[in-house]
Amino acid sequence: MSTEISQHELMQETHNGRLLRVEGLRTYFKTMDGIVKAVDGVSFDMPEGSSLGIVGESGCGKSVTSLSIMRLVERPGWIAGGRIWFHDKDLLHLPEEQMRQIRGDDISMVFQEPMTSLNPVYTLGDQVAEVVRVHRKVSRKEAMNRAIELFKLVGIPSPERRIKDYPHNMSGGMRQRVMIAMALANDPDLLILDEPTTALDVTIQAQILELVKDLQQRVNTAVMLITHDLGVVTEMSDRIIVMYAGRVVEDGDVLSVLKDPLHPYTKGLLASIPSLGKKNQRLNVIAGAVPNPLRMPQGCKFAPRCPYVMDVCRNEEPELLTQGEHGERKVRCWLY
């Protein structure tokens, strides 16, 4: 852990425009069978206006990480330790009222399920205008005009009419656009997208991603994209973090990680993407399954599934160490 933090301090000096810094975040859940360490010592940085992709299988802790940043982890979960610096505020030690003022204003979030993430009994305009009015002193009419403006921004046709519609009048893709409009309402410094396209059709997925990419350039918001789709990250992000069993296992810029994955898990993920050209080829899969969160292996959490496993892996957990001459990549593996 000590090396990890010192690495971050080094990075802090090089990144003056730092926006977000997560240090050793631990978020646990209490279950009937014991404590599940959903996020266990996650650290990373995000400069202002940057784009970061967090990748991993279901249950690796990527969504919980984002909810922890928003401080929206619900019981039986709780943030057990770590620090989250946003600008120069320590979010985990902020009074709830100040945290509330940050949510939806400085940091906003788009969730996975557009079909259920909007309140069915209020109009879309009301719901978008609401987030404007809670953080800005504007009249109802001004907020509505802002909603119309935002609907235009996210490409919803005839926004003047659409603000009077209810969520059930819209398709999933359109609802996700509304969610994005809502998230962008107060020009946030950080936009968290938690699997924003998972629930959508492929064609709609592409439209939404295109929209986010376009908006990112226009509004200069830092974007944290959480997904299990490596292809999406390649399209959308400059940097990638690979998570496994509540830990960061690899961290680096997208191109070098994809070209030369270091961690065996990342290698496995990349190999498991089916290629279009080759027919009748067996799909590459990572053998085994994600470890039971209640009975985590003692050493490296990936050891039971790792093709390169060594004796040391089973006994001792490796740390997230910097690789390369410029310290631009990090990996948690005994191989390096």
Binding site: M70, L72, R100, Q101, I102, R103, G104, D105, S108, M109, F111, E113, T116, S117, L118, N119, P120, V121, Y122, T123, E130, V131, V134, H135, Y166, H168, M179, M182
Partner: protein
């Protein structure tokens, strides 16, 4: 919307017709009749025959049914065995029941909804556990027993509230001309008297409803606060108050609306028992008396009346539902 209402009203009419047959034959199939009072001795045979003839009870049942139902269609609701108009007898008792219903129902919701809501928001807390226990006690308590216990405790032992009747005996009867005159003359006295007489029956009637509705509200609220849109509302940076009262509450009461309407039949039964225990001169009390004296005309009219009330309450629930839930459209 109008078409929908019209369609529902037509449906209701058909249902009412079917119910009228059931009500009529059920009563007439039961042993005994309104003229039974006259068969205690041989001397009254003639009087008994006269009674049967006057009420037309010697005619075949289908013919009797026809007279009864065609009378209804002409606005003639028949006469009681005592010779009064059924309609005026019921109308005289109705204000009392409406008063009791409105007051107890209003307070039932005022108490039950917040109770259920706060219980859900503090799930498994001390308050929630105590409340859960209390609501099971409330649900399993028979109305008649609760009524008797309240009378014993607060009416007799502590003597804080009057036992029985709608108004004090030295004051005019509720909803009569004299009563209105007295009300205009001294409102605090009359209203206070009415309220004191109302407390115990209203509580008796409310307890089961509060227990049931608050449990329902708790379950509904628990369901809603774990929905994705509540997380969205929090992520927007809304105050907890706004999240709960604006985003959660409105969704949580949707299923309650149906529940409130469907509770009405239970309430009708509650009136009968409660009013009988407290000798509260409302429709429920009238119903019990009419059954004991085999007063077919009144019993049938009251059955029809409660059936209409239930049907209308259902229609009203459906319409309210469409009004509060934009996803529901009737066209």
């Amino acid at each position: 919307m109008t078409t929908y209402i019209i369609r529902r009203l037509i449906q209701s009419t058909i249902i009412m017709f079917g119910l009228s047959i059931i009500f009529f034959f059920m009563l007439h199939l039961a042993p005994g009749g309104p003229c039974d009072v006259f068969i205690q001795s041989q001397r009254q045979v003639i009087q008994h025959e006269l009674c049967v003839k006057t009420l037309g009870l010697h005619k075949p049942l289908p013919v009797q049914y026809w007279y009864w139902i065609s009378g209804y269609l002409h606005g003639n609701f028949g006469k009681t065995t005592g010779g009064q108009l059924v309609s005026s007898t019921i109308l005289a008792a109705l204000p009392v029941t409406v008063l009791l219903a409105t007051v107890s129902y209003f307070f039932q919701q005022i108490i039950a909804l917040p109770l259920g809501m706060f219980s859900a928001l503090r799930q498994y807390s001390f308050f929630d556990t105590v409340f859960t226990f209390m609501s099971y006690v409330g649900l399993s308590m028979p109305t008649f027993w609760l009524g008797l216990m309240l009378i014993y405790l607060f009416g007799v032992h502590f003597a804080v509230f009057p036992v029985g009747l709608v108004t004090d005996t030295h004051l005019p009867v509720f909803w009569t001309h004299d009563w209105f005159v007295a009300l205009a003359h001294d409102p605090p006295l009359i209203i206070g008297d009415l309220a004191r007489h109302l407390v115990l029956p209203a509580i008796t009637l409310m307890v089961v409803g509060v227990a049931a509705d608050s449990r329902f509200m708790r379950a509904s609220m628990l369901d809603v606060i774990h929905q994705d849109y509540i997380r969205t509302a929090k992520a927007k940076g809304l105050k907890r108050r706004t999240v709960i009262f604006k985003h959660a509450f409105r969704n949580a009461v949707l299923p309650i609306i149906t529940n409130i309407a469907l509770y009405l039949p239970t309430l009708v039964g509650g009136f009968v028992i409660t009013e009988a225990i407290f000798s509260y001169a409302g429709v429920g009390n009238l119903f019990v008396q009419s059954i004991t004296s085999h007063d077919y005309g009144v019993v049938q009219a009251l059955l029809m009346l409660s059936a209409i009330a239930v049907l209308l309450a259902n229609l009203l629930a459906d319409l309210t539902y469409a009004w509060v839930d934009p996803r529901i459209r009737y066209d």
